[in-house]
Subunit: 246 residues, 2 copies
DNA sequence: ACTTGATTTATACGTACGTCTAATATAATA
DNA sequence: TATTATATTAGACGTACGTATAAATCAAGT
């Protein structure tokens, strides 16, 4: 296995420009005008899409290799065992997403000054990067969002999510706590979990919402975000107005 | 070597392991005091637990058979192909759950008379049977709840959920619509989806909520239900007070 | 009592899986 | 230029998978 900085891969997330003709040669050995980073990204994109569609166990390394148009062993060569490939798929976009969320939070903090950040702003700052990326980002983001939704309630996913997303979640929870000082942390966490679950459900795009609403197509991302924000901000506010001593 | 050899039979005879506790006899053929229904339930319970832990592809028929203490082929004999086994696992509890939910809705309708049913009552009627079953029902309900959570955002799960749960969902959506007449159906469906996602997230018991709240153990089901109901009822009410003009 | 069907054990088949090794050709480096 | 490192092709290994078949044994109907 080789050790390599992920900087190039993250950079390539912005867009894979040329899409060079593959299968330049059927010969073994390092290809002439080879671009290893492009190969790595092709494998990661294929894995992301297949993991999203079929799950970790349902997507085989052979499937990934075929979709990426590489030999089977190229996958193991670049990413090691299957679990490492999976984690790499999650990690490269988790880093981007968390940075977007922290940026949005920093903006909100700047706008609020010393005052608590309004709940609506907090909710929007957390969910908007995810939903918008899944909607207008490169197609990979849509697969990634579906994959995260599928992972949400699984043991494997929980471990990975903890590793990549808990830090930012805690940062947000502190802000929620500051905005809602009378609410117990456990209740805030329940609301936060509900918010995340709803966000993932929207982006999973299973078609159930459209079916139940008798709609012929998915709503615009902007409307989804607005409804989600309004709904969950009201939920958070209700936590401080409720007396649980029933 | 296609011909069945006698050597293998001899090997198996001398390799007979110590008889397991449950095995009344190691002989082939229908067992003496056999209870086929009990065998079927054992297989379904084992499958339910393993599908919940490892997912559809991650749990093998061999795993299920071993956990149920039956031969591999007993599974296929009783339930057919793997997909049919999976559907049977879902179906048996879905029928019970939907009946509990429709009962709760009927009670609410009776209490409300001709008036709209309050949102809090609707939310509680839908989520309480699920959360309570997962909490103090037979242990299989906990596995079932975890399995449903894992299924929620997956293509396979979507198809199965549609088949078993959409009818009742539509019935509830009608009531929500009656209670919130000024709200578009699509917005109500968004709220309903958020509610279901939060409910499943609670019952999936991944431990993330406890970790983020620095809690050492899960909250009581009653408190979870109360928070969820209060939170989501407020969310639904916000849908009618919001102007989506932008 | 006899026959038929149901349920179990035992075993096998063909395929797909994740991983590994070897060979080879280019890139990078000294 | 010589040498090492890297990226690719090709093939194989051992295991596990879902499923199928045969035989054995008991239950149930006649």
């Amino acid at each position: 296995m080789k050790e390599k900085s992920t900087a190039s891969s993250v950079f390539l997330l912005e867009g894979t420009p040329p899409a060079p003709a593959r299968k330049l040669q059927g010969k073994p050995g390092r290809p002439k005008g080879g671009r290893p980073d492009e190969t790595r990204d092709r494998i990661l994109n294929a894995a992301e899409s297949l993991f999203a569609d079929r799950g970790y166990d349902g997507a085989s390394i052979r499937d990934v290799a075929a979709a990426a148009d590489v030999q089977i062993n190229a996958v193991g060569y670049h990413f090691g065992p299957k679990e490492d490939l999976f984690d790499t798929v999650i990690a490269r976009r988790a880093a981007v997403m968390e940075s977007l969320r922290l940026d949005a939070l920093a903006d909100a903090r700047r706008a609020a000054g010393e005052a608590p950040i309004p709940v609506e702003i907090l909710v929007r700052a957390y969910v908007r990067p995810f939903i918008e990326s899944a909607d207008h980002g490169e197609p990979g983001w849509r697969n990634y969002a579906a994959l995260m939704g599928r992972l949400a309630n699984s043991p494997l996913g929980t471990e990975i999510i903890a590793r990549h997303y808990d830090d930012t979640a805690r940062t947000y929870l502190c802000e929620f706590h500051r905005t809602l000082p009378g609410v117990e942390l456990e209740d805030i966490v329940d609301g936060f979990s509900a918010m995340v679950a709803a966000m993932l459900g929207i982006c999973a795009n299973t078609g159930r919402r459209e079916r139940l609403a008798n709609a012929d197509r998915a709503r615009a991302a902007k409307k989804s975000i607005d409804v989600l924000v309004s709904f969950h901000a009201a939920g958070f506010n209700a936590l401080s107005h409720t007396n649980w001593r029933t």
